[in-house]
Amino acid sequence: MFCKFSQVRLAAVNACVPPKEISIMDELEYYDGNRKKVERLRKAIGLDARRVCPEGVTASDLCFQAATELLDRNGVRREEIDALLFLSQTPDYQMPATACVLQHRLGLPRECAAMDLSQGCSGYVYGLWMAASLIASHACNKVLLLVGDAFPPRNPANRVVSPIFGDSGTASLLLHDPSATEMSFQLGTDGSGHELIIVPAGRARRPLSLERDKDAELYADTYDADGNPWRMLQPYMNGRKIFDFSLRVVPAHLKSFMTCANVVPEQIDYLFLHQANGQIVECITDKAGFPLSMAWSETFSRYGNQACASIPVAICDRLGGSRQERGQMLLCGFGVGLSWASCLVQAAGLCVGSVTDYQGRPSETYHSDYLTHWRNIFAAKEDN
């Protein structure tokens, strides 16, 4: 579907990543010590490094820092925020919504609406679409959109997902501005591909049992033809089919979107594609009719594939520390779902923060402290 929103402006973007970096060169043992194989990966898809959270740090923590920096740097008063949207595939809890926790942590007013959204690699554009629609409908004047993912530790022996995905948290501010140029969006879904990137168990379709023994199968590894271990409670990705989807669907979608939005590639100043990997970014850029010089994938090389947050991190990585005077940005996310989404955003007036390292330090006894905290709550006497 294609739509436009008037009087909505993307005012600021900020990004935060965990300081711990893992380079693919640190993991030679998982390639049988074959340097040549690793160099092939680097050259073919731009795989280099990723950032990972320590235990006890979640996507919401990264988003919290990004949001705090954004609000303080741009002089936005907390009481001005009408809605907080937290978009992630790795919320803090199954319930309550992590957005509620963040409303409290950020000191936002109680009148602020807060909700979680779940979407994958197209998530940032979906989030912008939701936020813009709230403003365009006059439901809100200012919306804080927090987008981030921090995946639980993965088996490093799995060379499909483990070296690819990186953690990050971002904050974006959208506001009502009568002088703002229209924002255009086009979104799409193909749920027949929902098993191509999925965490198969741990939620309603296959929840954890009350008896631990029944869950043993969820922790067992099944090996593919290349020797990669897969587990029901961890992300699964069919790399081949996702690659084919990226080439088959996304360029055609981009061309269709540009036709609906009445723009041509020559009018686009910045193209920010989901940082799936360098090869995919280059292929889509080329097939969609853009010069290869517009294919930006350095963010993937530096920080990994950051799922829903890869686009705002790419914006901060490339334009960080600047206030844009002009320019059109075309943002395009695609992947999990399967889903895809593009939007055309005017960069005029956009304040872009740099990608900053997370400053928090989780306790070394985080695990045991967390358990103790909840055991105390469970054991507390109810007041009648």
Binding site: R40, L41, K43, A44, I45, D226, G239, R240, K241, F243, D244, L247, R248, Q279, E282, C283, D286, K287
Partner: protein, 73 residues
């Protein structure tokens, strides 16, 4: 694109040191894996205008099979 040029381009896609010839078994090429198959799918798409899935490429046994997909054999 001439076959000779195609084989040179494919050698670059695979990032292999040894030149390719039509009779080579792909299983015997160390660099023939899911990474290079994706690269080949991208090459077919962008340079030859032929959409071939990486799964189809994975089923190829010889370089000649690749040439057939490219309409050159």
């Amino acid at each position: 694109m001439e076959i000779r040029q195609l084989l040179l381009e494919w050698q670059d896609v695979l990032q292999c040191d040894e030149p390719l010839d039509a009779g080579m078994n792909l299983a015997g090429i160390e660099e023939w894996d899911s990474l290079s198959q994706s690269g080949m799918a991208a090459f077919f798409d962008r340079k030859l205008g032929i959409h071939v899935s990486s799964e189809t490429l994975a089923r190829c046994k010889t370089v000649r099979d690749l040439l057939r997909l490219a309409g050159k054999a």
